[in-house]
């Protein structure tokens, strides 16, 4: 057995070892942790022609059975030792945490938190699906039709498979595709270059729990291959920045998961209590290393902007890199140091524009970008902007970053722009009504709720059921 695991492609669940392989290395020590087979788009296109077999394999199960399988998969994912590749290696939960940490830069404690989120989603799949389907009787999906809520109901599947072009920076985003399996839709995954671990482990968990292997395609591939997945599955999700995803903006079959531009808004009625909300704001900005689209990237307040920025900077500024296995770790390293360099440069460049100050600089020891034990880190950065029009006021970076900006309450909703999550700290009925009426906010937290809080029964980024199924009208002779 080779000492380094080889992660093959999975073609309808069957391992395929390619002659083209890449090595996945630790971000700080450069140690090779696995080789990964990569394939061209032509192979994926060919396999997708036969994806009906994967769908047929899932159709043999009821939704209820697949919910049970998902729950078992969740337990195996969290606690089990699973095959890692095709050369006889296995991966314990501890191995998973340490290897993912070593390649992504996420400290162990954050990987574990992501793992728990995925486990929760899998073991609460019934709740998730009930939320997505708004209480649909699942047997209607098994039969294709039925009666509920006093009416006849029929749904049909919109896609032969769910295509996924995954990122490398946050393992918990894999929870987004999990409902596809109990919804009887095969998944075709292009993993992030540095993050084959989570989707591969999830697939192995499902298979170990009794899910048919044919339902899974795992294709480390190039740009062309990603295009094939996005264009050929019928429905697909892509993660990436605006440059990557813009070309798919008008394609209803492709759901884009880009920057969230999530925000905290404080109403006039609560602003005098601002010191009470500093911990909530700091957590919203910095949890998960500031890497999630649901991390707050702006704090919008009617007044006390400078004071709030200073208080946040005082709290977050001293955060320092730690060893990955430190239980108190708060910062993530960068698997690609050039990305850290780019972000640091972009912030520095825009700070030259008058009207913005890096308040954390007063509380930080050393520069924003740091080297620590071979890894590259970006320290928290709180920028006070004197206008929401400043280039740094509505930006999102892969680190604990947020702007603090003053905007009169009456103008907030016309100026914040599209926001994945808004935590609005207010009890003002009029402002609440305006917030509820806004079409710019995907998930609205009313009250002192961190932006990072999500509910599995309420999708905050597209409804997977509505994405994978469409309702049709039906008449059937009795």
């Amino acid at each position: 057995m080779s000492s380094i695991p080889h992660i093959p492609c999975l073609r309808k669940g069957a391992p395929y070892e390619s002659l083209d392989q890449i090595e996945i290395k630790g971000y700080s020590d450069g140690q090779t942790l696995a080789s990964v087979s990569t394939v061209n788009g032509g192979i994926i296109r060919r396999d997708l022609r036969r994806i009906d077999q994967g769908k047929a394999a899932l159709r043999k199960f009821t939704v209820d059975q697949l919910i049970d399988i998902s729950a078992k998969a969740g337990e195996v994912f969290l606690n089990g030792s699973l095959p890692l590749g095709d050369k006889g290696h296995t991966q314990s939960p501890e191995d998973y945490i340490s290897t993912l940490s070593a390649t992504s830069g996420l400290p162990h404690v954050m990987v574990k938190r992501n793992m728990d989120k995925i486990h929760h989603a899998l073991t609460h799949m019934r709740t998730v699906l009930t939320g997505l389907t708004r209480g649909l009787d699942f047997s209607i999906l098994d039969k294709g039709y039925g009666a509920q809520f006093g009416t006849r109901i029929s749904y049909y599947s919109t896609a032969k498979a769910l295509g996924l072009v995954m990122p490398s920076n946050s393992p918990a985003v894999n929870s987004l595709w999990l409902p596809a399996i109990p919804l009887k839709t095969p998944v075709i995954i292009k993993p992030g270059r540095e993050e084959p671990w989570t989707p591969y482990r999830l697939i192995q968990s499902f298979i170990a729990a009794g899910c048919p292997a044919e339902a899974f395609g795992f294709y480390p591939t190039d740009h062309e291959g990603a295009g094939v997945i996005l264009e050929s599955c019928g429905r697909a999700l892509i993660f990436g920045d605006q440059n990557t995803t813009a070309q798919y903006a008008n394609n209803p079959g492709i759901q884009i998961h880009g920057p969230g531009f999530s925000k905290i808004l404080v109403g006039d009625d609560q602003i005098e209590h601002w010191p009470d909300f500093i911990d909530l704001m700091a957590a919203s900005i910095s949890e998960n290393g500031g890497r999630s689209c649901i991390n707050a990237s702006a704090v919008v307040v009617p007044k006390y902007g400078k004071e709030i920025a200073d208080a946040l900077a005082k709290k977050l500024g001293p955060y320092k890199p730690t060893r990955p296995d430190d239980q108190g770790a708060r910062l993530s390293g960068f698997a690609n140091p050039k990305m850290a360099e780019y972000i640091d440069g972009a912030i520095a460049q825009d700070l030259k524009e008058p009207g913005a100050e890096d308040v954390t600089a007063h509380y930080r020891e050393g520069s924003r970008k740091l080297e620590f034990e071979g890894g590259t880190y970006l320290c928290p950065t709180i920028v006070h902007c004197d206008s929401i029009a400043h280039p740094l006021a509505n930006r999102e970076f892969l680190c604990p970053y947020a702007s603090v900006v003053e905007v009169p309450q009456a103008e907030m909703l016309e100026k914040i722009g599209p926001s994945l999550v808004v935590s609005a700290i207010t009890k003002d009925p009029e402002f609440t009504e305006m917030l509820l009426d806004s079409d710019l906010i995907e998930r609205l937290n009313l009250g002192a709720i961190p932006t990072m809080k999500i509910s599995w029964d309420q999708p905050h980024e597209g409804n997977m059921f509505e994405f994978l199924y469409k309702r049709r009208s039906i008449e059937r002779e009795e």
Binding site: L19, N40, G42, R45
Partner: protein, 363 residues
């Protein structure tokens, strides 16, 4: 390291002697006033030495001649390349593949027929049944390949259908990031081929790797009657070669990759096998052409076996003499392998492919 079918030292020595004898004949021809071309006679006069008297072997060519300059084929009128012995005989003007701007031009009379008649003996009747039709889908226009494929079909007792693809247009589209138009153009080419395959009986195909892949997505090649594919034009790395063999041709259609161009002719490959990890090795049609893999920085030095280097081509026919032309390709140097008693070049790809992205086009 590839497995090799042993070639005896005697065979290698015999091939070298045959090459040296051929070199003497060709150099005599091109540098003698009765038979030579204006370009080379003029060149020798300026160089101040007489190759006809001083070149005895292929090693002498390497030692005495500088690299052939491709500008000579762009800037000079074609007449300067007409050997005295061919004077008055109309010639073909062939142009190189996907270049933009003024293309390199090579003139010729029957070289392509010689090359492809020889190649015909290297392909199996099972894959390319005699008296049966061919389809060429690829760059035709001013390229030697178009006439060569037709000749190949003809010498095998049959005829060929043609679908054109203009590689210069494709390169331009890709350079301009007009990917949708490029895709649409490729679909247009493929649709024409599908129409031919649906309405005519064809068993042999010449095309490029990408077009072959695209064609196979539109039609079942085996069911359409295709039994052999002769393929060339762009890079085929080992995994892509495996993909073509296993997935596109389903391990049941004969596959003959070749490396060639207007300046050389074509280098055939030894059979591609799993044992070789699907690495394709090509052998020049020696003695009419010689391929070497040289150090890109010190082009006088040949690389060791299984090392990457730049491809250098020397063409030695009575129609055309071209010493030490540095191709825009790099390759692995391979040992002689039966039936070829000279070095091969493997896994050919654009020069500098590892350092920068090269536009090869969708074709």
């Amino acid at each position: 390291m590839m497995s090799t079918e042993t070639v005896s030292n005697e065979a290698i020595q015999q091939a070298k002697e045959q090459l040296d004898a051929h070199v003497r004949e060709i150099v005599q021809w091109h540098f003698s006033p009765e038979t030579g071309s204006p370009f080379w006679l003029d060149w020798a006069e300026k160089a101040g030495w007489n190759p006809a008297q001083e070149i005895e072997s292929f090693d002498d060519i390497i030692a005495r001649f500088p690299h052939f300059q491709d500008e000579w084929l762009r800037d000079l009128q074609p007449d300067v390349w007409v050997p005295q012995a061919f004077k008055g005989q109309p010639f073909n003007v062939f142009e190189t593949g996907g270049t933009t701007g003024m293309p390199k031009q090579r003139i010729g009379w029957t070289d392509y027929k010689v090359d492809y008649s020889e190649f015909s003996e290297k392909i199996s009747d099972d894959h390319f049944p005699r008296n049966h039709y061919w389809l060429m889908m690829g760059p035709t226009g001013p390229r030697r390949l178009r006439l060569a494929i037709e000749h190949l079909a003809n010498v095998r007792g049959c005829s060929c259908y043609f679908i054109d693809l203009d590689p210069r247009f494709v390169k331009k589209l890709i350079a301009d990031k007009k990917f949708d138009v490029a895709r649409s153009y490729m679909d247009h080419v493929i649709d024409q081929a599908v129409t031919i395959l649906k309405h005519r009986k064809v068993s042999g195909v010449f095309t490029t790797p990408k077009l072959l892949e695209a064609l196979s997505e539109k039609i079942d090649l085996w069911e359409a009657g295709i039994r052999g594919v002769f393929c060339g034009g762009t890079t085929m790395d080992p995994q892509y070669t495996r993909f073509l063999l296993e997935e596109v041709l389903e391990n049941r259609i004969g596959f003959y990759p070749t490396y060639g161009n207007t300046l050389m002719g074509l280098a055939a490959s030894v059979p591609v096998t799993r044992e070789d990890n699907f690495s394709i090795t090509y052998y020049a049609p020696q003695p009419r052409a010689v391929l070497r893999v040289v150090d890109a920085e010190k082009t006088d030095e040949v690389k060791e076996y299984d090392e990457w280097g730049r491809v250098e081509l020397t063409t030695l026919t009575k129609e055309f003499f071209m010493p030490r032309f540095l191709e825009r390709d790099e390759a692995l140097r391979r040992e002689p392998r039966a039936p070829y008693a000279w070095d091969g070049v493997a896994q050919v790809r654009p020069f500098g492919a590892m350092e920068k992205k090269i536009v090869e086009g969708v074709y």
